[in-house]
């Protein structure tokens, strides 16, 4: 690890935070205060949209209606995407004349994109038509991110309310998130990426003559538009099978830096939005600080593991002088690949620019750990922060008693119902991942999908279920995931990981909204400041460590101890 590697990472991180602060303020204005940019241009358009869809934007929903609207939109999105995939062969924009996607894979893929997981059991350029990629996947990239933002906005409103039932209007939140946040950002990023050489075309694949005189078919397509939202919306589903390791998806160091920054931007901005919607910027900043406190050390660990020098026992085969290069792109190098691997698993993005399966045991372990912590270290757009707030509730509940008051968060008492919901939100992904892996190791047909044996094989299972149950979507590679059984098991994990967190969070929002805040004094447990930040980060780490310590010990840790 060189000073340059460290400084570059810290500079990138600082730049993201510098951009996230004003963006967070903008988000709060759009979602919290209902302000519209260029109202003369957009407001009539927005109103027309509501009229066309029969939405009454003034209707204020309680948490149940809000959750129902959210689930309804997701269900419709799933059904449309599933149908599109199943019948893509008969639909236009299919220059390669790809066949219909088989049912298990279509189920898995549709669930994956609707839940903002973007796990890819398929190879994009070898399976999906342009219609499936753009109308199907890219649309859900927008919608799933907008849903995350909406649920977070509802939670913030619930926490800020004083004895109210309502959390806002889901349809309005989703529309405004898409229209005023995701679309403009994606447009800007897509143009910037295209300028770097990321492909954007509806034309057919290109046939090329290689230097050796052979024929090569180069896959192209509407890539830039999909990659922009894939990074911004913490989706991660690449156009190409190898995702952002592909030279036409991520060709230059600048395109790499842009995509890297984009994947952390909105999750970080959410923290600023949250603080502002609560009328107390410190609250958002302390949640952000706790995330950073977990991210930066793990990032440094990953860089030092990938950058080398390689452990003595495998130095002969692995040491290239610049670090572990297997599975990495030369134009990105090991340090940038390590940072990408850290950020993409911290934020629930899941795009990759190197193959994590080939990372060093510690590097792969960092990626695993970040997912197993529940995707709350930045996490998905909206979903990362609302998951972190759930941890915040648990933290004040456990430690808050120690100041001699019944626990409260932001002035609202944390009581049995909130704890019940928070327990479900934390238990659901953990239980899903643990049970999923147990079923996988016990089922011979699933074990046949493993590429490697021993501890590394175990890591591959661990990675797959951690990724699905926490809606990350990145793949370790090495696991042939496109089998009916795995498609179903992982699809189910993604559903549980998304909705058994989001719905309890909305229930917490509804219950908190009804409470009147108690006045703050020096006797109140402070949920800002260094002490709380450390405490929150420790709780996240402790819960993650306690739940997955044995699994991590049997996978990456054994591997690491073997090679060191």
């Amino acid at each position: 690890m060189t000073t340059f590697d460290v400084l570059r990472m810290l500079l990138q991180f600082a730049l993201v935070l510098a951009l996230a602060a004003p963006l967070g303020g903008y988000l709060a204005r759009v979602l919290g205060e209902g302000r519209t940019p260029f109202p003369g241009v957009f407001a009539p358009f927005e109103r027309a949209l509501y009229r066309a869809c029969g939405i009454d934007p003034k209707r204020n929903m309680d948490w149940r209606s809000y959750a129902l609207a959210f689930l309804a939109l997701q269900l419709v999105g799933f059904l449309c995407l599933y149908a599109l995939l199943r019948w893509q062969g008969s639909l236009p924009f299919n220059p390669r004349e790809f066949a219909d996607v088989p049912a298990p894979l279509a189920f898995n893929t549709a669930v994956s994109f609707v839940t903002n997981t973007n796990w890819q059991a398929y190879g994009g350029e070898a399976t999906l038509s342009y219609a499936s990629q753009t109308v199907g996947l890219t649309l859900q990239n927008f919608v799933s991110a907008a849903c995350g933002l909406s649920v977070l906005a509802a939670l913030a409103r619930g926490l800020a309310a004083r004895g109210a039932e309502q959390l806002g209007n889901f349809w309005v939140d989703v529309t405004r998130s898409t229209l005023y946040v995701l679309l403009p950002l994606a447009l800007l990023l897509a143009l910037a990426l295209a300028s770097q050489g990321v492909v954007q075309t509806f034309g057919p694949y290109v046939e090329a003559q290689t230097l050796e005189g052979g024929q090569q078919l180069i896959a192209v397509g509407p890539v830039a538009s999909q990659v922009a939202i894939k990074q911004l919306g913490t989706n991660g589903g690449g156009f190409f099978n190898v995702n952002s390791a592909h030279p036409l998806e991520n060709p230059t160091p600048l395109s790499n830096a842009l995509q890297l920054g984009a994947l952390l931007l909105l999750p970080a901005a959410c923290c600023f939005m949250f603080g502002r919607m609560l009328g107390d910027a410190r609250q958002g900043r302390s949640l952000l600080a706790a995330m950073a406190l977990l991210l930066v050390p793990l990032n440094l660990l990953a860089i030092s593991a990938e950058r080398g020098p390689a452990p003595a026992r495998i130095a002969a085969v692995a040491d290239t002088g610049v670090g572990f290069m297997e599975g990495k792109e030369v134009r990105h190098g090991p340090a940038e690949s390590a940072t990408w691997a850290t950020w993409t698993t911290a934020a629930s993005n899941g795009s990759v620019n190197s193959m994590h399966d080939s990372a060093s045991p510690l590097g792969g372990g960092v990626a695993l750990l970040l997912m197993l912590l529940g995707e709350v270290v930045f996490g998905g757009v909206g979903s990362g922060l609302y998951g972190m707030v759930v941890f915040g509730l648990l933290t004040v509940f456990l430690a808050g008693l120690m100041v001699g008051r019944t626990p409260e968060y932001l002035g609202k008492k944390v009581q049995a119902f909130e704890i019940q919901m928070a327990s479900i939100a934390i238990l659901a992904p953990t239980a899903t991942a643990l049970i999923g892996i147990a079923v996988a190791v016990l089922t011979p047909s699933i074990r046949a999908s493993l590429q490697d044996r021993g501890a590394h094989g175990f890591s591959e299972f661990l990675y797959a279920f951690a990724s699905a149950a926490n809606n990350n979507g990145s793949a370790f590679a090495g696991l042939s995931a496109d089998t009916p059984l795995l498609n179903f098991a992982l699809g189910l994990s993604m559903l549980i990981g998304r909705y058994l967190v989001a719905v309890p969070v909305l229930a917490i929002a509804g219950s908190m909204a009804r409470k009147s805040p108690v006045a703050a004094s020096v006797g109140t447990f402070p949920t800002h400041g260094a002490l709380f930040v450390i405490l929150l980060a420790s709780s996240v780490l402790l819960v993650g460590a306690l739940s997955f310590a044995p699994a991590l010990a049997l996978g990456p840790l054994v591997e690491h101890l073997r090679v060191r």
């Binding site: 808050g400 008693l401 704890i419 019940q420 094989g457 805040p517 006045a519 109140t524």
Partner: protein, 696 residues
């Protein structure tokens, strides 16, 4: 009923010496009885341990009978220590309960075999029907005469009597109970010492104050408090996570063994041991003991909370409404200074003031005599010797004094004296008026003394603060608790005393309505309010307050409106009540934090032990150097059980309480119980392992 003395001393005796052999023996028996699965089911965490103990016992037994290939001494030892874990938790609860039980027994003695004299129509002259006390129903009239026990809670409708209430208050001095006013409520189980009263029963049978108190101190009717329920949900959730972690570990282990082709799968006993070590048994085992001990601490301060919820709310209180008189100041005003009129000497004034007060038995009057003696050595004289007649205070004249052969002397409020002098054609000098105004501005009460000729000067009467009360308020402020003084004084006086006492705010010219309004206003701004009260007119405010402490000497209505009763009728105790509530919550939080932080070390003990046969590399995790794997597992289990015993005193006594801001308390407790909880087991498990190596 010769139990008065014993009953009276029971609550205080418990405080002085902690546990005697008998208490401990009873607790051990109770702990064994609580092994019954039905009583275990009430506590999900300990129920998991109970099931684990049954399971490992089965494995040990099967191993001993050679029914299964594995099994050995480890199974037996782990099973044994799991049973100990359950027993220790039971013991903690039983011990907490036993402390209350001693009091309950003495209380119950008061209730026995009382015969009630029922008056069919409530007329004293009627013929009485003798029925057992527990047959008295609400609304019946009962005659209680000297020597009788009062059969039920009720209200005096006729008569006056001195009553021995030591059974419930521990205070042996008798109190007066009479019909009408705020001293009309009587408690079942107390005894009339002299005279007679007619009581209308207000409590239903089996629901008298005494019965409720017995149930509370025994912990029998203790319902879980809201925070306790929430905590139990979280603990159950955590237990479920760890159940999954350990249950899935078996397939993981099978996979590792088959892939690696080395070692043996992890045994059921090791998995159960890991599970019990990981689930929060420390807090799970001590949770109810902490709750009972919190109630117990209240009772030992002679405060009876009608529910655990009230004790919990006491910790949340951030506004204290305190009555000025009796809480902030000593009950009465005292003379502190003589201000003579211009042409009068101070001694002259003191002399006149003393004469006018000689027969005045009010505390204010006594204090004037005392001050005159202290300042000028004026001896008390007998009114008769002087040939004087005492003129008592009357509502019409609003003055008191003496008529001496040499002429009258009067003292009273400035306006009353002005009128009196005016009626004699004498002026009220402006200089005296200035003094009067200046005393009033300082929060004092000016009393003007005059003879038939002129105003002699002014006596300065002043409220005297209770010792240490100012420091107390400063402490409360540091903890973020506001104090509000309630007084009937005018705003000027109130402001002066408020400033002197250092309260944050005051309500002057307080009426029950304004008090109620103030509480509502605080609550609407998100504050939790505590107050003490005794009068029937306090009842609405008591009902509105979040923590309402009624004085036991007070009206029945007040007692019913409040959620705590102070048997000593000492309003200052409000502060201790808040502290006790906070201490209970802190103890709960500290033990929870400690319990969960413990888990990290246990992983380091058990994971290498469980998997080192499959992956020898994992011995690198054995940072404690525990070596042989069976001992390591057992050491973790033993530590886990012993920690419960080690923390029983903390659970019963409560964590050390300091009046500090929340951030400061948090930092201290986090270091002690969070960091301490992380590190202690590393040391403890290592020590136990070393001992095991010696003996096994």
């Amino acid at each position: 009923m010769e139990t008065t003395a014993i009953r009276g001393s029971a609550p205080r005796a418990a405080r002085s010496h902690g546990y005697d052999v008998r208490t401990l023996r009873t607790a051990v028996v109770a702990a064994l009885r609580k092994l019954n699965p039905r009583s275990q089911l009430r506590n999900p965490v300990m129920f998991v341990v109970w099931v684990g103990a049954v399971l490992t016992s089965g494995v040990a037994l099967a191993g001993a009978l050679n029914l299964i290939p594995e099994g050995g001494w480890l199974d037996l030892w782990v099973a044994l220590w799991l049973w100990f874990t359950v027993l220790f938790a039971n013991f903690a609860e039983a011990l907490a309960e036993s402390r209350g039980r001693a009091q309950a027994e003495s209380l119950r003695a008061a209730r026995q075999d009382t015969i009630a004299k029922v008056l069919p129509h409530g007329e004293r002259s009627e013929h009485v029907n003798l029925i057992p006390a527990h047959h008295v129903i609400r609304g019946q009239f009962v005659l209680v005469e000297a020597g009788d026990s009062i059969p039920c809670d009720g209200e005096v409708v006729e008569g006056i009597a001195s009553v021995d209430e030591s059974a419930i208050t521990g205070e042996s001095a008798p109190v007066i109970r009479e019909s009408g006013g705020d001293r009309s409520s009587v408690t079942g189980g107390t005894r009339v010492l002299s005279d007679w009263i007619v009581v209308r029963a207000t409590g239903a049978v089996g629901d008298s104050f005494l019965e409720r108190m017995i149930a509370l101190v025994e912990g029998a009717k203790r319902s879980k408090t809201p925070n306790e329920i929430a905590l139990e949900i979280l603990l159950a959730g955590l237990s479920l996570v760890f159940l999954l972690v350990t249950a899935t570990l078996l397939p993981f282990s099978l996979f590792a063994v088959s892939e690696n082709g080395a070692g043996a799968p992890v045994s059921i006993t090791t998995l159960v041991a890991l599970l019990v070590c990981l689930i929060p048994t420390t807090i799970g085992g001590l949770l109810s003991a902490i709750g009972i001990a919190g109630m117990d601490r209240m009772i030992r301060q002679n405060v009876v909370a009608t529910s655990g919820r009230a004790v919990e709310a006491a910790g949340d209180v951030d506004v204290l409404l305190l009555d000025k008189t009796g809480t902030i100041t000593l009950g009465n005003r005292q003379a502190v200074e003589f201000h003579p009129a211009p042409d009068v000497s101070e001694r002259e004034l003191a002399n006149a003031a003393q004469l006018s007060s000689l027969a005045d038995e009010t505390p204010e009057g006594r204090s004037i005599v005392v001050l005159a003696k202290a300042r000028f050595g004026l001896r008390e004289r007998q009114v008769q010797e002087l040939g004087a007649t005492f003129v008592p205070f009357s509502a019409q004249t609003r003055m008191s004094g003496v008529d001496l052969p040499s002429g009258p002397v009067r003292k009273g409020a400035a306006d009353a004296i002005t009128k009196w002098l005016a009626s004699r054609g004498r002026p009220f000098p402006k200089s005296v008026d200035d003094v009067v105004k200046s005393i009033a501005r300082q929060g004092g009460t000016p009393l003007v003394v005059a003879d038939s000729e002129r105003a002699l000067g002014v006596i300065h009467l002043k409220d005297v603060l209770k010792g240490g009360i100012k420091e107390r308020f400063a402490q409360l402020r540091r903890m973020g608790i506001r104090t509000v003084m309630i007084t009937g004084d005018n705003p000027l006086t109130a402001a002066a005393i408020a400033a002197e006492a250092g309260v944050d705010d005051y309500l002057a010219e307080a009426t029950p309505e304004r008090k109620l309004e103030l509480i509502r206003e605080f609550q609407s701004r998100g504050h939790l309010v505590a107050m003490a009260g005794d009068g029937a007119n306090d009842a609405p405010a008591l009902a509105q307050a979040d923590v309402a402490v009624a004085m036991n000497s007070g009206a029945q209505a007040a007692k019913e409106a409040g959620n705590m009763v102070d048997l000593d009728s000492n309003p200052t105790k409000l502060i201790e009540i808040v502290e006790t509530g906070k201490q209970m919550l802190m103890t709960r939080g500290a033990v929870t934090t400690f319990s969960i932080s413990n888990d990290l070390a246990k992983y380091f003990a058990i994971i290498p032990a469980a998997f080192v046969s499959t992956y020898p590399e994992l011995s690198a995790l054995d940072v404690m150097g525990l070596g042989e794997s069976a001992n390591a597992v057992l050491a973790a289990v033993i530590f886990n059980a012993l920690v419960i015993v080690a923390l029983i005193p903390l659970a019963l006594r409560g964590v050390t309480y300091r009046a500090l801001p929340a951030a400061e308390i948090l930092r201290r407790n986090l270091l002690l119980y969070g960091l301490g909880g992380l590190l202690t087991p590393f040391v403890g498990i290592k020590l136990i392992d070393m001992l095991l190596d010696l003996f096994l």
